[in-house]
Symmetry: C2
Subunit: 355 residues, 2 copies
DNA sequence: CTGAGCTGATTAACCGTTTAATCACTACTA
DNA sequence: TAGTAGTGATTAAACGGTTAATCAGCTCAG
């Protein structure tokens, strides 16, 4: 006894076949010149001994770790799971691993998180920045996922178009009086969504916009938003920019004895994991996370590729701005998911009377 | 021009000071014998040129990557953010990075995910296994987070005690007729919670247990659970094992015009991110993720430490079961969070009449 | 004055892989 | 027959750090 089991490496294979390490490396990577039957033999023994290439060795030599860093403003964000899963999948498909970094909502910590990932040798970073934060040059390729209207953004859901879609859907259902509900006007994403909604409503439609943060600032956290009142005033469509808001509206209406969707329709955004299990289940706009992730990863890998074959130059060797291939921002369409919380507007007669 | 900027390394520092690489390495790591003032000088230039040690180089030599793998049955699980954040934080505190792997709910993929992380050189794995899956030997230290009653578990929330706490809380509020609501009896976690709840209820209490999966199997997905009916039959406490279930119950009661918490109390588990924003906000039991993560990471690092200084042996060099330090499973207490969805039982008179 | 003992630094091997350069050999071509 | 090409393999030098072994110089006891 007393033989510790080291994972087999190239030289083990080389030794057992009586050839050189370089030949084994070439055979397995298909790069140099190796005879067909030797390649075959090497492949065979490699799989026999259960050879697993050491990413570390490879990384040291090639200067590429095969790891992408995923930086989030706040991991605890409810959309993170969808995104992380999509990114992990897209990266794994291209043979990359995903290292996570969290800034826990703290702006200063965002830099720390970025640095930690860079120290670990991440080849590139995917960043979902904190509201309003801009990502400076970090000397390595970066893909930013935020909103199409964020400068420096790489890819994002087309929130504006998402707003248009939901508004148009509600219009076809006969709705004409809209309450548009957002959290805070400081969010690019929310502004895009609301912009899209309002831009799709005809002049004849009646619109009111509610900012939850403002209402709560006056009336205290968790207060009523007064949506039941709006229904009495003839509003039939409650178009929120987040399922979180939609849920809140939904419960407030139910408590007031207002039936959804018979008396009023409620819609959300983001299709959160519970949105399909509440009753009535939520009509919502869903981001195409797999696509977003795929584009982000693709763009990032392209940049990494480019910066490897074409290292950037500086006049004095000092820090110098990294100029990515400047892939123009791409917007990924959102998908309308119709569920139970929305339906035709209550019969027009009633409104005629009210108006 | 035409000088690409490589990140400075040990030999750069060594060259600029006219000393050997080894000395610089020793100075920075505080290992060998280096004079105090030389250490000072080396430290200074190191920070001046912005030296960042290459984890890769270090990893190759030491055989340790400084990276932990986090394997999840399904990243899209709503509790993942809390957990990932806690693990990332705990790992970062000890200088480790976190690589994520997702099996997307697929059992076969779980093995793949594990292998991918191992290939990337993860020093150890933290696994949150899919229901019922057991983790075989993977040749490296592992920490499992599932439920205290899962064999091979390393650390988990004390779900049983959590059930006891919530039951006791409801008892002190005067409740005597309990509806205990779970999703599926196949989950260790849910069984623990329900076991804790029931074990705390006195014989005099009336208890009914509802399994949502079973009800839906008969009546179709998204169907009513019949909780309003239970209220009419005198039940006042709806004790669910997940905030997801609690939300569903809450909405069903509200739709039936039953006031919460005046007419009935509803409680959940897990304190999901939206649980505080619904109205009424949810009373729930929260897992102490930071603590769980801390213990998992600590235990894992201890194992890694141990397996490094004391490599295991095999008789023939073949695969051999990895025996961790067998730290006994530790249970982390859960915390009761009282919010608006629970309160005193309706006046006893009413029940007296019913009983 | 010699050798032991300490201090502060250097040398060189090593981790596992990649890859440019080289070499031995065979097979053509002139 | 010598020179040229091509083929299939090897050699050796990296990559960036760690670390055991070595060494030079100094002090001090015997």
């Amino acid at each position: 006894m007393s033989i510790l089991r080291p994972r087999p490496n190239l030289s083990d294979i080389a030794a057992s076949l009586g050839v050189s390490v370089a030949t084994v490396s070439n055979a397995l990577s298909g790069k140099g010149r190796v005879s067909a039957d030797l390649i075959e033999k090497i492949r065979k023994t490699a799989s026999e001994v259960g050879y697993i290439p050491s990413m570390t060795g490879k990384a040291l030599r090639t200067g590429r770790s095969g790891v992408l860093g995923l930086v989030l403003a706040n991991i605890a964000h409810p959309l993170f799971p969808q995104l992380a899963q999509a990114i992990e999948y897209a990266a794994a498909k291209s043979g990359y691993g995903v290292l996570i970094g969290d800034s826990r909502g703290d702006i200063a910590a965002q830099t720390d998180a970025v640095n930690r990932l860079l120290e670990r040798g991440a080849d590139g970073l995917i960043i979902v920045p904190r509201r309003g934060t801009r990502i400076g040059d970090i000397g390595r390729p970066v893909a930013v996922i935020d909103s199409p209207s964020t400068p420096g953004n790489t890819v994002a859901a087309d929130h504006w178009n998402g707003g248009q879609q939901i508004a148009q859907y509600l219009l076809t259902q006969g709705h004409r009086r809209f309450a548009v509900i957002g959290g805070s006007p400081n969010s690019n994403v929310q502004n895009d969504r609301i912009g899209g909604i309002r831009s799709s409503l005809p002049r004849s439609a009646v619109t009111d916009t509610l900012w939850i943060d403002e209402i709560e600032h006056d009336a205290g956290q968790g207060c009523d938003l007064g949506v039941a009142d709006l229904v009495r005033r003839g509003f039939t469509a409650f178009c929120t920019v987040s399922d979180l808001h939609a849920l809140r509206v939904l419960m407030e209406l139910q408590r007031a004895g207002i039936r959804v969707p018979e008396d009023a329709s409620v819609t959300g955004f983001d299709d959160m994991m519970w949105s399909s299990v509440v009753t009535p289940s939520l009509t919502t706009m869903r981001m195409d996370m797999p696509k977003i992730a795929e584009i982000a990863v693709e763009s990032l890998l392209r940049d990494i590729e480019a910066s490897a074959s074409n290292p950037r130059e500086t006049e004095n060797g000092s820090l110098f701005a990294h100029s990515p291939a400047k892939a123009q921002t791409s917007s990924v369409p959102m998908h309308l998911i119709v569920r139970q919380s929305s339906g035709p507007a209550p019969s027009a007669d009633i409104h005629a009377r009210k108006e």
